[in-house]
């Protein structure tokens, strides 16, 4: 019966294996009913090394400000302590980190706790090293207490047969096998120890490791996050101040217009999960909720098309000198035409009355008509221009140019908008001495307004007004307002190059370009240069060199992309930092 013995051995090994897996989960110390937020770093060493070895992390170390910070008297002490531990524990910090928290670090807390009680668990792989570490820490603390003339040493007490050590009023620790428990509160530490006792006694102990938390988070986040967070939304929704926010329909028009989609998924989701990843040299942070397009409230239609095929948002522009572009879906026609469904009756009435007032001043149209002709895809873009065309005089400081671009359901939108702009400009132009003009940019007719070159503007001694030249026009079904002709030309070219753009599933996309931001700040290089001299005490030539290095560093930071996306059952908010070269 060799085979049965083999099977028996296999079962035992499997049992030991699964037991081992359960025993090394730091979440087993957190009582399920009292834990509402959990943050976990599965492999602390991997997290630290991924940041430490990141190319821009390495570059940052060469910056004088960072060097000075790392060499400050206080941080020197931190590095001294680290060196001491390495020496006495006989291992370098990466190895030490594996020994004392190789199987994870978890921190848990509860909403509404006074003074934010927390419990942290470092799940190590070497109980002896953890014990040695605790002894060393206690020794240092006791030495420090003695040096300060405190007669009482570190307080040690037994609880449930486990020694709890009070290192300070706000830090208590206990070792349980390979795990090190830390807390800022006696009761929170005791709860961790109680859970440990319960784990040993009960067949199915009620700890977080035995709940669906990990499975839920893993399913929602996917991949291998370097750190993740779980937040239980149920207790949040029970907070009195949250009731109005999560109500449907909601009284607050502004909240609805700005955040209806997010609030709706939060209302329907049981939890939020967040994860941090490094993928090659890209860093990604994502927030997700287990609720998506299905069963949305009526107000979500403002931000999300009822038909997914319509697409969420157009791709952000990629213009020369771009600082940032924000592309989003917003259906203002729905806002008005379905107001009775979206808002309570009184709010809907107020909106209708407001429309009547506004429509009186609109020329040849009404607000409902205008909204019905407006599109759902909008983009706002800002660039740092190299030059500002259109004026003989140049501003002393080049300010960013910006534009707003929106799609149209009907070309009548452009006609109506042009009438509105021209009427408004006629009124404002007298005050601001604006001059109107009409032009053709890249074969597209545009119109706009300019400040007179010779006009007197005593409140603008730096001629900053010459950064601006409001420009309006439409091309390929998209209406645009640009702050000057330069960015208007770039927009026209970009829209033409897009052809008929296809909207992505993401209903919001933002791109922030470090190079554009760097160009923007470099328009007034004096500010960082003077800062460098006065902070570092270096001469001008050295400060110039250091400032140039700082800008090179900024330029290489690449791009940050933000997007929100809905599947049928999930909501994703991703922030991805893609490095430049």
């Amino acid at each position: 019966m060799q085979w049965t013995r083999l099977i028996g051995l296999f079962v035992i090994l499997l049992g030991v294996g699964s037991l081992r897996a359960a025993d090394t989960n730091p979440l087993r110390f957190f009582p399920a009913k009292d834990t509402e937020i959990v943050a976990v770093v599965p492999h602390p060493r991997a997290l630290i090394e991924s940041i430490r070895n990141h190319p821009r992390g390495q570059d940052a170390l060469t910056l004088p400000q960072v060097r000075e910070f790392l060499d400050s008297a206080d941080l020197r002490r931190v590095f001294q302590i680290l060196a001491y531990y390495e020496r006495d524990l006989g291992a370098k910090w990466p190895e030490l980190l594996d020994q004392i928290s190789g199987d994870g670090l978890a921190i848990g807390t509860k909403f509404g706790s006074q003074n934010a009680l927390f419990l942290a668990v470092m799940q190590g792989r070497d109980a002896k090293q953890t014990k040695k570490l605790i002894d060393l820490v206690v020794k240092l603390v006791e030495e420090e207490l003695a040096r300060n003339g405190v007669k009482e040493g570190v307080l040690r007490r037994k609880y449930q047969g486990i020694e709890a050590i009070e290192l300070s009023k706000d830090l208590k620790i206990a070792q349980i096998d390979e795990a090190l428990l830390l807390s800022n509160n006696d009761n929170a530490l005791k709860a961790g120890i109680d859970q440990h006792i319960s784990n040993k006694k009960d067949a199915k102990p009620a700890n977080v490791a035995n709940t669906s938390v990990q499975g839920d988070v893993k399913k929602l986040l996917g991949g291998q996050p370097l750190a993740w967070l779980w937040l239980n939304l149920k207790p949040v929704k029970e907070l009195p101040q949250a009731k109005d926010v999560f109500a449907s329909p909601r009284n607050d028009v502004v909240q609805t217009v700005l955040f209806a989609g997010w609030l709706d998924v939060a209302r329907r989701a049981d939890f939020i999960a967040a994860g941090f990843y490094r993928e090659q040299d890209d860093l990604k942070f994502t927030i997700r909720m287990p609720a998506g397009r299905l069963n949305t409230a009526p107000d979500v239609e403002l931000h999300l098309p009822a038909d997914p095929k319509v697409g969420g948002s157009l791709p952000p522009f990629d213009l020369p000198g771009m600082i940032a572009c924000h592309s989003f879906y917003l259906d203002l026609d729905t806002f008005y035409s379905k107001k009775e469904k979206i808002f309570p009756a009184q709010v809907a009435n107020d909106i209708a009355n407001g429309e009547k007032q506004l429509s009186r001043v609109l020329i040849n149209t009404s607000l409902p008509k205008l909204l019905a002709a407006s599109g759902v895809h909008h983009r706002i873009v800002a660039v740092q221009p190299e030059t500002v065309p259109g004026y003989k005089k140049v501003p002393q400081t080049r300010l960013p140019a910006f534009a707003f671009v929106t799609t149209m359901r009907d070309e009548s939108f452009a006609k109506s908008m042009n009438s509105i702009v021209k009427a408004a400009a006629l009124a404002a132009g007298n005050q601001a001495s604006l001059r109107s003009w009409e032009d053709t940019l890249d074969d597209v007719p545009v119109f706009g307004y300019s400040f007179p070159d010779e006009g007197k503007f005593p409140d603008d001694p730096q001629n900053l007004r010459f950064n601006y030249q409001p420009t309006f026009g439409h091309v390929n079904g998209q209406y645009f307002f640009a702050s000057n002709k330069g960015i208007a030309t770039s927009i026209i070219k970009a829209i033409k190059a897009e052809g008929k753009p296809k909207a992505a599933n993401a209903n919001l996309q933002t791109a922030i370009v470090a190079k554009g931001f760097s160009d923007f700040t470099n328009v007034s290089p004096e500010l960082p240069l003077v800062g460098m001299i006065l902070s570092q005490g270096v001469p001008l030539d050295v400060a110039k060199m250091q400032t140039a290095e700082f800008y090179q560093f900024l330029d290489k930071l690449g791009k940050i992309n933000v997007k929100t996306e809905y599947t049928d059952t999930e909501f994703h908010l991703d922030i991805i930092w893609k490095l430049g070269k």
């Binding site: 910070f69 040096r147 003077v530 005490g537 270096v538 001008l540």
Partner: protein, 468 residues
Amino acid sequence: MATNFDPQWAWDRYTPNEKNPWTMAKVGHVYRRLAFGANFGELQAGLKSDPQKLISNLFNGQQSSPAYDSATEKYLASNAQKLNQPQQAAGWWFYRMLHGPLPVAEKLTLFWHNHFATSNAKVQNVAFMVRQYETMHRHALGRFDVLLQEMSKDPAMMIWLDTIQSKKGMPNENYARELMELFSLGIGNYTENDIREAAKAFTGWEIKNGQFFANASQFDSGKKKVFGKEGNYSGADIVELCTKQPACAKFIVKKFYRFLISEAEDISPEMAAPLEKQFADGFDLRKLVEKMVRSNLFFSEHAYRTRIKAPVDYVAGMVRGLESRMGTINGSLNLTSALETLGQYPFHPPSVKGWDGGRTWLNGQTLLFRQNLALDLARRPVGPNQPALARHLVETHKIKSPVEQVNFFADLFLQGDIPDDSRATLTDYANKVHKQTYPSYWTERDVAEQQTVSLCHLVMTLPEYQLD
């Protein structure tokens, strides 16, 4: 009560003698009163020199600190103006005080800044404030009558004391009042009527394109009766009339006495008389200052440590003593902000009367801040991978044992002049410092550095170090 000395003796030039020798304490005294403290090398060189030569050298300008760079300093000034950044302007001026080639001029400019106290809090124009600084710096050792005329037409002053609002038929009295009360004569030497009449002479004074402009259409060209004399006076005439009052020389001599000799007591009329006579003849500020600081009285116990260090003197003295090249607006240790916390933020005096000074510099809060700042400076690394400033200093000067270090720091910051019991306590501490327990994780080098830093800090927190 003013102590009455023989004026002849008091103002005669000090010549070292057996009873009153030239000592390191006196070198330190000169550097504190005429500059912003000395480093160890300057003290040693000063001791080898003689008092009159040392003072001449200070007046003529010394070799600027290695941290000073003229192009950098000019760049800072121009940008503070261009960007209208008051903290940068304060940082720039403190840079000049710390590292500039002519600390005497900076010190006296600071004196005039307190005399013609103008704050950017109201002026809101850094370019005007810097220009006012330049005017005061240019005339700090020049002629007072010229300085007073230029300050009257200074744009920052014209905004500060509302001269620009003074119109024909609606004269603003602010400037006329402060001209007499605070800038030239002092209370009791003019009447309310003098102020009212004088104010008419400053009507129509405006700022045009950033410059003084006399708007004739807004000028009250009628007759004014001031100090008993009647005339069709202009503003410049009023300023001249003020300087011709006997009270003017008295007022300025008295103020310099408190600044250079002692703030513990006023100058007696007998002692003041020869100085007033000399000053009234040409208003030569350098002559007046030199007369005072070269004198027997200046080098006597009646002048020695008879002032409380102003924040600028306290902070600059430590930075210079520790030979630090640090920036003045550093993120981790912002010296300019420290000056503000301690109550002396350049370009921002609290009122037209300037800083009260003296005992008001010290209270429980500022004293604690001074002590913490002293520690932060002593332990501040010279640079990446370099020791703390205090440790670097003793290593540079090859000072070994803790007792030697105590003596070194006592010489550097207090020129060895500390009470016997303080020295005994410090020496006792230095003798026992090696017996102290230190955190186990410290290396021998850390321990040595900490010992040096604590010894340096102890010396800088002695009560005597708060005295100027």
